[in-house]
């Protein structure tokens, strides 16, 4: 039974990101994995090996699309050409939902290839929600928006990040991809309590959770996805599961990628927190 209205796929369990260094292992060994998350843009190509690998993965595994370049928070209209490419991929993968970020990243047709933070204003929330509705209508698939990690805050902001996220998803009537590592990173960079964030987003909209590792520098934390998940993030994850119930969870590991077995082992640690919560609730 779904934990919430936007979480119809809580049987998805623990997934990992599909990454190039693991292709051969996955295709040859066919390890048991609940599901793979793909970066949509890596497969929005016209041919060649990326699509060949994807088709082979789709024969064996459930795949969920995660985008990095729809730029839902952009003041510009969404690129119809980009949406067409996403939709073509949606038809190929049959992704049950797709996610992208609550951010902007392009201006006047120039791309930063980054997930840039937004000023948390009501006007920005309105624009972003309209973009999400347009994308969802066009793509005909539920959308979850992901909170990004950030290193800067704007004077123009009128609310907290979690209030902004809530405002956007309520206006757009969409789901949330709750990245607990990003919440932790931003909480350290902006001096807020990450539990305030977790406690105050609409839990019934959380359709997926991301976990990842980060890097600590002298004056800030960077969301590098190149380490195992750190303890404070696991604690936040445990709290998130308590609030939102059993939810599809994915480990992101994008740099200095170790063996498939190591990444998978790290991801499966999440099961312990899910089961702990499940048993506590049953008792």
């Amino acid at each position: 039974m779904p934990a919430n209205a936007f979480n119809n796929f809580n049987d998805y369990g623990i997934g990992i990101g599909l990454r190039v260094p693991h292709y051969r292992h996955i295709l040859e060994k066919k390890p048991v994995v609940d599901w793979f998350e793909i970066i949509s843009e890596n497969f929005m190509v016209d041919g060649g090996r990326p699509l060949q690998v994807l088709d082979q993965i789709l024969e064996q595994y459930r795949v969920v699309q995660h985008g990095v370049a729809m730029y839902l928070g952009s003041a510009d209209r969404l690129s119809r050409d980009h949406l067409k490419k996403v939709k073509r991929l949606v038809k190929r993968t049959n992704t049950p939902w797709l996610s992208d970020h609550l951010c902007w990243g392009s201006v006047d047709g120039r791309y930063t290839h980054d997930l840039l933070p937004m000023p948390y204003t009501f006007a920005a929330a309105k624009t972003t929600a309209a973009n999400i509705r347009e994308a969802s209508d066009y793509l005909e698939v539920p959308i979850c928006v992901e909170n990004v990690s950030s290193y800067a805050e704007f004077h123009a902001s009128e609310m907290t990040e979690w209030e902004f996220l809530s405002e956007v998803v309520e206006r757009a009537n969409c789901g949330i991809l709750l990245d607990v590592n990003n919440i932790y990173v931003s909480s350290q960079n902006h001096n807020f309590d990450p539990y305030d964030y977790l406690n105050n987003v609409p839990h019934y909209r959380v359709g997926q959770i991301h976990i990842a590792g980060h890097s600590k520098f002298e004056k800030y934390i960077l969301d590098t996805h190149d380490h195992p998940v750190l303890d404070p993030v696991w604690k936040l994850y445990a709290h998130a599961i308590k609030l939102v119930g059993r939810t599809a969870t994915l480990l992101e590991w994008d740099d200095r990628i170790p063996t498939f077995a190591e990444v998978h082992r790290e991801a499966l640690k999440a099961n312990q927190f899910v089961e702990d919560q499940f048993q506590t609730a049953a008792a």
Partner: protein
């Protein structure tokens, strides 16, 4: 914020102290970015500026090992910075970051002096490999389908992933040597700390520059693996003619008109070429 992100870094990889209009960047950053107890507004904005440049330069660094070897590591980073400042990414994917590099090198050859032509050849060759990797494959034409139409009326398309390159240097062999050297270096360094900053990497043993020679190359893929194949001048000219929309008859006639070779059975030779090219899947119907 976007203008801050796109502005090139200083020589020390920091954000420029002056805004594009000459004002102090610290003053401008203070106007829209909040400071915190550890970082000023300028420093917080600088994180995004640096991450942008490290990301795009890393991408070009990986995509152009041959060009990098020709101009040298430091000069390559300056060239890449100038290129991206003039032609920032206009695509959602980093895959297309080098799509206007050839144009840039033609417009501003001073970045590759004194190896302008060699560098241009290499940039074209390396971009052709990006295209070969994941451009579309259209339904193939078989020899039977080709044989059904008289050569005078037959127009054949070439696969979108295929590039025909007429080069002045043997950059194909040079790049193979460069890649071998990079693989050897990686093995040597496997136990050492990995540095993600390109300019911090170790000095590598030099590879001899390619000699000047006319090379006609097809860059393509087969079974989703990348290949490059040298062609004889007449074979290259036929394919170029087909790509330009000439009929098979006219493409062959034009190619042979310029040939100096007289001791060749051209009918058999052309049949053999077409058979090979068809087997490699290079032929498709022409795009409308």
């Amino acid at each position: 914020m976007a203008s801050a992100v796109f502005r090139p870094l200083t020589a020390r990889d920091r954000m420029q102290p002056r805004w594009s209009d000459g004002r102090s960047a610290r003053t401008v950053a203070n106007e829209f970015i909040k400071p915190n107890d550890r970082l000023s507004s300028f420093e917080r904005l600088e994180i995004y500026n640096r991450v942008y440049w490290f990301r795009v330069l890393d991408c070009l660094y990986d995509d152009y090992p041959g060009l990098r070897a020709i101009v040298g590591e430091k000069k390559f980073l300056r060239l890449a910075t100038a290129y991206l400042a003039k032609y920032p990414s206009v695509s959602f994917t980093l895959r297309n970051l080098g799509q206007r590099l050839e144009q840039f090198l033609r417009e501003e050859p001073s970045w590759t002096a004194p190896n302008e032509i060699l560098a241009l050849d290499m940039a074209r060759f390396e971009w052709a490999q990006v295209i070969a990797f994941d451009n579309a494959e259209r339904p193939r034409l078989t020899m039977d389908e080709i044989s059904d139409t008289p050569p005078g009326r037959l127009r054949i398309g070439l696969q979108p992933y295929l590039s025909l390159l007429e080069l002045n240097y043997a950059v194909d062999r040079f790049l193979l040597a460069i890649k071998k050297r990079e693989a050897d270096t990686l093995r040597d360094e496997a136990s050492n700390t990995f540095e993600s900053m390109p300019h911090l990497q170790r000095r590598k043993r030099p590879v001899r520059r390619p000699k000047q020679e006319q090379v006609r190359l097809v860059v393509h893929r087969h079974d989703n693996l990348l290949y490059y194949k040298r062609l004889e001048p007449e074979a290259f000219a036929i394919l170029r003619g087909l790509q330009q929309g000439k009929s098979v008859e006219k493409a062959c006639a034009a190619a042979l008109a310029n040939s100096k070779r007289r001791d060749v059975d051209w009918v058999s030779q052309i049949q053999e070429w077409f058979h090979d090219w068809s087997a490699l899947g290079w032929f498709c119907s022409r795009a409308r």
